[in-house]
Symmetry: C2
Subunit: 336 residues, 2 copies
């Protein structure tokens, strides 16, 4: 079932079969039809490896994800899904590569073995050696997220700094004076995870701008940690009346801790965050939050990558989104 077999049965040469399929040279209607009939009958498809070898491209992109051991957040899942979706629309396949920890062989294989035409990297750190590796390799790539100095790369990202600042202003406008930031996990922040640092910076700046009293804490990415963290926060700072958070996975725990402390949301306490819309709406009560357009970002990342593959020397482009805050049910005036 290779191209030679098709050629033999159609009574033409292999090149003619190739031209009939790719259309890169004219083939007479009768010949073409005969070839297609044979192909259809035998269910022939060109061998992807042979084609990739000759053409020098694989029609596959790599998607570098955090290692499987760290559970994907809802937002990350949204990115993965939208990248896969957008790639499928462009008739590209997606090769998954967990990176970090023990799986660096996988990353190496993807980057170095000419298995993919380009790469999308998620979960970028301020200093990220995967990015350095990719830049050195010359392979086209796009970050979902960006390094501290992203001038030499193409990327899409969420403007956490602006968003958290906006959250703080929203709370300040409502009269809150003592607010807390529930950030991502201490490990992530310590490892230089961009959103954690940028959220912190935005929080500090806005708190200073509005003359508020702010306290920032880190919190692991699950409901139990969110609860523990909030209980601790309320015990240490009983004066708090609001929380801003970028940790969607912890939000349910934050709710429970507040309920157990006797505080009712939003009457006694306000919460505002940055989260996937799906997630914000499914909390109870629905979370007032900046809705991250994960689907759009993933699609844009694929777009950018296609551009770089088509012209690797083109100027780098990027997209920084700061979606507006959707008012739902968790923020209200500061209690008197």
């Amino acid at each position: 079932m290779n191209i030679g077999e098709i050629a033999k049965r159609a009574g033409v040469s292999r090149s003619t079969v190739s031209y009939a399929l790719t259309g890169r040279r004219p083939v007479s209607p009768e010949t073409k039809q005969r070839i297609l009939a044979v192909i259809d009958e035998l269910g022939y498809r060109p061998n992807a490896a042979a084609r990739a070898l000759k053409e020098g491209r694989t029609r596959t992109i790599g998607l570098v994800i955090p290692p499987a051991s760290t559970r994907l957040t809802d937002m990350q899942l949204g990115f993965v899904a939208s990248v896969v979706d957008a790639a499928a629309r462009a008739d590209l396949d997606v090769l998954l590569s967990p990176s970090g920890g023990e799986h660096d062989r996988s990353f190496e294989r993807v980057v170095t073995g000419q298995r993919v035409d380009g790469v999308i990297v998620m979960e970028i750190r301020l200093e990220d050696d995967r990015v350095a590796r990719l830049m050195a390799s010359g392979l086209p790539f796009v970050g979902i997220g960006r390094t501290r100095d992203p001038a030499g790369m193409s990327w899409v990202d969420i403007d956490y700094e602006t968003l958290i600042a906006r959250c703080v202003h929203h709370l300040a406008d409502l009269g809150h004076r003592d607010i807390a930031l529930v950030n991502r996990s201490a490990e992530l922040v310590a490892a230089g995870y961009g959103p954690g640092h940028r959220a912190r910076a935005g929080f500090d700046r806005a708190v200073a701008d509005r003359g508020l009293r702010g306290v920032a804490v880190c919190c692991a990415d699950d409901a139990q940690a969110g609860q523990a963290c909030t209980e601790h926060l309320l015990a240490e700072h009983p004066e708090l009346t609001a929380i801003a958070t970028v940790n969607e996975a912890a939000a349910a725990g934050v709710y429970h801790a507040l309920a157990r402390s006797g505080r009712e949301v939003p009457r006694d306490f306000s919460i505002v965050g940055v989260a996937a819309r799906h997630w914000a709406e499914n909390l109870h009560p629905p979370l007032t939050a900046a809705d991250v357009p994960a689907v759009e970002l993933g699609a844009q990342a694929v777009d950018l990558l296609l551009g770089r593959i088509a012209d690797p020397s083109a100027a780098h482009r990027h997209l920084l989104v700061a979606p507006p805050i959707s008012l739902r049910a968790t923020t209200g005036p500061a209690p008197a």
Copy 2:
């Protein structure tokens, strides 16, 4: 940076480089060292396409997932993560293929273009044309889930029928007489989604065995639907004192509906389900549930697939797991 370049710089023939790398023929220590030095210096990796073409295998497996539009449940995410993880351990790459809906081109490409050595298929229906397609193609594959008559395939699956029956018996043992099943979405069940049907069958059988009164409903996979569904259920059947569920995504909504109706869990009402442990523990209160070992199942699926790739004519194997119910905080004696 191909093997010829390495050969030239090391002053040997291309075949010798190949033998030095694969070890399939002896190479003298000095020569080998010289070759490895050059390779190291130039950062050479064999071209994956060329190797695949000659060897006839790609060292890649396909993972067929539901289309991106339908959000992955926590359990499905666990499967994906564990498959990727297990594949990485075996030095295999994973090619993602959304199937269903508009993405059948992607599935076709994966199955037919000799891009992968084997395939793992998720979300299998009782009658599943992707399975039929794979059987016809002769490509090794393993299902996570199984068709109605899975004799001709290898698979791993969760024994929903037994598990839900076990849940019902657990509730009956606690004295509950009126119980409901909250199943997966009506669309899934209508489409012949196996777990939905098998859960229903196990529920009906156990309810009959114990002489209970049971009511089964379908429910979309999110918290809002869970709440609406439960409210409806309580309105129609106020005599209910317990719910068994296979719909982990709806559980939070079930909780809220019960709380809003004034029922306290587990004092007034019991809930028991089948869910990923991570998910059950993060609910509040933690859900008494059969903990699905998604990680183990994914790893087993990869194992089975490796076996089939190694020997496609070997007898089919399968694994049906029925993990015990972990008692947490949501079941108690039926109210008097």
